[in-house]
C-alpha cells in the first residue's frame, strides 16, 4: 500500500518555562521548516513550523506553534500575555498542547503543566534534558507520574535528538486527562465556571485575577510537592549546581566578574568590528564585479543604470550587514545558552538602572559601536518592553563604524598634519572624543526617556539564574539563520526601496540644462574608455549631480543649513548620505571632482583648497566641527530605520527617532558652529 495522499493535520502548541529548552525541542521537531511571523498588533514574533508523522503508512502533518515562555497562566509581561491569549483563542484551534519541562527542575515546571491539564487540552508532557537529569542521578518514575496526572509523558534528549519519534506518536494519540488538579467550583469562587472560563476571565479582569491567582498557585504547589516526593528521587547534593556555584564565584565576583564581562565585550567588539570586515569586503567586491559585468553585458541605458546603481547597489547594501548580524547573534546565542547572559545582567543591573536600562542592555550598547543594525535586533533579550524600547531608541546615537570614514575625512581636513596640541595623534584624540560624546549623549537621552515613556508593564527583575550548560551549536546556528533571514526579507525590502528612490533622485533631473548635460554624459559613456578624457568626464559627472533632483534639493535646503556653516554642496552630500552616512565621502569626491573615491587624501587636498565668497578657506575649523557633530548625532542610516520598524512593528518609533536625532544633530551643529566661528 502506498502512503495515502490524504493529509490529516494537527495543530500543536509548544508551551513551557523559559530555560526549559523549548526552542531546541522546536528546532529538533521542525528543522528548517520554520517561518517567523507576527501576532497581530504586537511586537512579539510568532514562530511556526511543521513536521510530518507516518502512522500506518498514512502521512500526517503537525503544525507546530512555539509560544513565548511562561511560568503560569497568569502573565506578567507582554510576551507571556500573548502566549496565554493565543492558547485560549478559539480561532487558533489548537489540537494538542506539548508542555516542555526541564527534567532537572520538575517542580516549578509542573505548575504550568497542571494548569494546562486543567484547561482540558489534549496534552503531552515532554520531560526535556533527560540526559542531564540522568547524569545528576535524578530518577523520575515516569510510569507512576503518567498514571497520576493522566496524560502521556515522553522523555526527550534534544542535545542528541532522542525521543522525538515517540513524542510524535504521543502527540498523535494525545488525550485529555481525566484528573483535575484544582477545581475552582470546589473553592466556590464563581459557581458554574470551569477553569478555562476562569482563566479567560482573569486575563480580562485584574480584580478577578487577583482573587484567584495566589490560591490557585499555592494549592497547585501543595499537590506538586506531593507528586515530587512520590515520583522524583534526587540526590541531596547536586553536582552540577555546585559546579555552577563555583563558576558564579568568579563570574559575579566584584573584580573578576567585571573583568570577565569586559573581556566578553572586547571579544564581541573585535568580532563585529574587525573580523566581520573581511566577509563584508568580499560581499562588496562580489556585488561590484557582478554590477560591472551586468552593466557591460546589458545595453547601456536607463534599465542598465537602474539595475546596476539602483537595485544591485541596494541589495548589496542589505547583504553587507549579514556578517555583522550573524557574528553578533552567534555570540549572543552562546552567552544566552550557556547561562552567562543572566550573570552579566546580574552584575550590571545596578549600573544601568538609573538610565532606565537593563543589565541586558550592555551587549547591544557595546556592539552598537560597530553597528546599530544587529544591536537593535539583539535587544530582544530584554524582556521588559519599556527598557527594550529605550535601548532601541538610543542605540543609533552611539558612534558606529559607518561614521568612521566620515570622521576620518573631516579630521584630516581639520588637522592636515594630524597632530593635536603638539604631541597627540589628531585622529586618535578626536575619535576618542566623538565616541565618548556618543556614549554620554546616549545615556543622557536614556535618562530623560525613562521619564517620558509610559509603561503599564511592571518592571520586575525577578529572573532565574539558570545552571551553566554547554551551548548547542545546532540550535544557535538555526537561530542565527532565522535572524539573518528576517533581516534580509523584512528590513531588506525597505532598504532596497530607499536605495532605488535615492538612485532616481541623483541620476535624474528636469529642465533644459540637465538634459544637455545628460546627453553629453551619455555620449561620453558610449566611447571606449581609452578615448575618454577622464578629467572632462569628472566635470560632467559633477555638473550632472548638481542639476539632478538631489542637486536641486541641496540648493533648496541651503538656507536651512547655512546657519550650520554648510553650503549647497554639503547639502547634496547630506541628502545623498541619508541612506548610509559613509556615502558622504563618495558624494564629496564626486562634487569636488577628486576622481578616486577610495583615496581620502585627494579629497582632503580639494577640500583644503576650497574657499568661500570672501576668499577664506571654506572648510574652517568651525565648519569641520559642525559637520563632525552633525554626523555624530544625525540618523543618516536607512538600515537602522528599517530595522527599528521591523523590531517595534510601527513607524511611530522610527519617526520619533528620526525627528529627535535630526533635531539634536541640527541644534548641536548650530551651537558648535557659532561657538567656533
Amino acid at each position: 500500500m502506498s502512503p495515502s495522499t490524504k493529509n490529516t493535520s494537527l495543530k500543536v502548541a509548544l508551551v513551557g518555562n523559559p530555560n526549559a529548552g523549548k526552542s531546541s525541542v522546536f528546532n529538533a521537531l521542525t528543522g528548517l521548516n520554520q517561518k517567523t511571523g507576527n501576532y497581530s498588533g504586537v511586537t512579539v514574533d510568532r514562530f511556526e513550523g511543521s513536521t510530518t508523522y507516518y502512522y500506518q503508512q498514512q502521512k500526517h502533518e503537525f503544525k507546530i506553534l512555539d509560544l513565548p515562555g511562561i511560568y503560569s497562566l497568569f502573565p506578567n509581561s507582554k510576551d507571556e500575555e500573548i502566549a496565554c491569549k493565543t492558547l485560549l483563542d478559539p480561532n487558533e484551534q489548537i489540537d494538542v498542547v506539548v508542555i516542555v519541562a526541564d527534567s532537572t527542575n520538575l517542580k516549578r515546571n509542573l505548575l504550568l503543566a497542571t494548569q494546562l491539564i486543567d484547561l482540558r487540552f489534549k496534552t503531552v508532557l515532554a520531560l526535556n534534558m533527560i540526559d542531564e537529569a540522568n547524569a545528576q542521578n535524578i530518577v523520575i518514575d515516569v510510569a507512576g507520574l503518567q498514571e497520576t496526572i493522566g496524560v502521556s509523558i515522553v522523555c526527550l534528549d534534544s542535545r542528541n535528538k532522542l525521543g522525538f519519534n515517540e513524542l510524535k506518536e504521543k502527540i498523535f494519540s494525545a488525550n485529555v486527562s481525566s484528573s483535575i488538579f484544582y477545581d475552582l467550583n470546589a473553592s466556590n469562587i464563581k459557581s458554574g465556571f470551569n477553569y478555562r472560563n476562569a482563566i479567560n476571565e482573569s486575563l480580562l479582569d485584574k480584580t478577578y485575577r487577583s482573587s484567584i491567582e495566589n490560591s490557585d498557585k499555592i494549592y497547585r504547589y501543595s499537590v506538586i510537592n506531593y507528586l515530587i516526593t512520590k515520583f522524583v528521587k534526587s540526590p541531596a547534593q547536586l553536582n552540577r549546581k555546585e559546579i555552577s556555584a563555583k563558576i558564579d564565584g568568579i563570574t559575579t565576583h566584584k573584580i573578576f566578574g567585571y573583568l570577565i564581562l569586559l573581556m566578553v565585550l572586547f571579544l564581541v567588539f573585535q568580532f563585529i568590528f574587525y573580523i566581520s570586515e573581511m566577509p563584508m569586503a568580499w560581499i562588496e567586491r562580489l556585488f561590484l564585479n557582478f554590477g560591472q559585468l551586468l552593466s557591460q553585458q546589458l545595453p547601456a541605458g536607463q534599465l542598465n543604470d537602474l539595475l546596476v546603481n539602483g537595485v544591485i547597489a541596494g541589495v548589496s547594501g542589505v547583504i553587507m550587514f549579514v556578517p555583522q548580524i550573524a557574528f553578533l547573534f552567534l555570540f549572543i546565542g552562546f552567552l544566552e545558552d550557556s547561562g552567562y547572559m543572566a550573570r552579566a545582567s546580574f552584575i550590571m543591573d545596578k549600573v544601568m538602572r538609573p538610565f532606565g536600562l537593563n543589565g541586558r542592555s550592555v551587549i547591544p550598547l557595546i556592539s552598537g559601536t560597530a553597528c546599530a543594525v544587529p544591536s537593535i535586533m539583539a535587544t530582544r533579550s530584554i524582556s521588559n518592553l519599556k527598557e527594550r524600547l529605550i535601548t532601541i531608541f538610543i542605540l543609533p546615537l552611539i558612534s558606529c563604524s559607518a561614521r568612521l570614514p566620515v570622521y576620518t575625512l573631516l579630521i584630516s581636513v581639520l588637522y592636515p598634519k594630524s597632530v593635536f596640541l603638539g604631541v597627540f595623534n589628531a585622529k586618535g584624540v578626536v575619535l576618542f572624543m566623538l565616541y565618548m560624546l556618543g556614549f554620554v549623549v546616549t545615556l543622557i537621552t536614556a535618562f530623560f526617556l525613562k521619564r517620558l515613556v509610559k509603561s503599564t508593564e511592571s518592571s520586575f527583575f525577578i529572573m532565574e539564574l539558570p545552571v551553566y550548560r554547554w551551548p548547542q551549536l545546532s540550535s544557535i546556528s538555526l537561530m542565527v539563520y532565522n535572524r539573518v533571514k528576517v533581516f534580509v526579507t523584512d528590513a531588506g525590502k525597505i532598504i532596497v526601496a530607499i536605495s532605488i528612490i535615492l538612485w532616481f533622485l541623483s541620476s535624474h533631473g528636469l529642465g533644459k540644462k540637465y538634459n544637455e548635460i545628460s546627453e553629453v554624459y551619455q555620449s561620453m559613456k558610449l566611447l571606449p574608455s581609452s578615448k575618454v578624457n577622464h578629467e572632462e568626464l569628472q566635470k560632467i559627472e559633477t555638473l550632472k549631480l548638481e542639476y539632478s533632483f538631489i542637486g536641486v534639493l541641496g540648493k533648496v535646503i541651503e538656507p536651512a543649513i547655512k546657519p550650520l556653516g554648510f553650503d549647497w554642496k554639503i547639502g547634496i552630500a547630506l541628502i545623498s548620505s541619508f541612506a548610509a552616512r559613509e556615502v558622504f565621502v563618495g558624494t564629496m569626491a564626486t562634487i569636488y571632482q577628486s576622481g578616486n573615491t577610495e583615496n581620502t587624501e585627494s579629497i582632503k587636498q580639494k577640500l583644503l583648497k576650497e574657499t568661500n565668497d570672501a576668499g577664506e578657506p571654506l572648510y574652517s575649523a568651525a565648519v569641520c566641527w559642525s559637520l563632525l557633530i552633525f554626523y555624530a548625532f544625525a540618523m543618516q542610516c536607512m538600515s537602522t530605520m528599517a530595522v527599528v520598524k521591523r523590531e517595534t512593528k510601527s513607524w511611530k518609533w522610527v519617526i520619533a527617532q528620526l525627528t529627535f536625532m535630526s533635531g539634536l544633530a541640527y541644534c548641536s551643529a548650530l551651537l558648535v558652529f557659532n561657538l567656533l566661528n
Partner: protein, 75 residues
C-alpha cells in the same frame, strides 16, 4: 519578623509572607512561596540585586523586591 534584605549571604530562612500583592504572585509562581526554605546565595558586587536558592532554582531579584519577602531565620 525580618525581610529578605536583612539576611546574610549563606543564611537560610523560611518564607512567611509578602508585603506586596503584585510581587507575591510573581514570586509564588517562581517557586518562592510561604513554607519554602530559601538560602541567600549571592549579593551583586554593587549590593543589588540579590540571588536566593529556593525550590531547586536560583532566583535573582532587586533589593526593593527582596524587601517585600518576610522571612524567619532557621538554623
Amino acid at each position: 519578623m525580618i525581610n529578605l534584605t536583612q539576611l546574610q549571604k549563606g543564611q537560610k530562612a523560611l518564607v512567611k509572607s509578602f508585603t506586596s500583592d503584585v510581587l507575591s504572585s510573581k514570586l509564588i509562581e517562581m517557586g518562592c512561596l510561604p513554607g519554602e526554605i530559601l538560602t541567600l546565595s549571592k549579593i551583586a558586587p554593587l549590593g543589588c540585586p540579590l540571588a536566593v536558592r529556593v525550590s531547586g532554582y536560583e532566583l535573582s531579584m532587586r533589593r526593593e523586591e527582596a524587601a517585600c519577602v518576610l522571612i524567619e531565620l532557621v538554623n
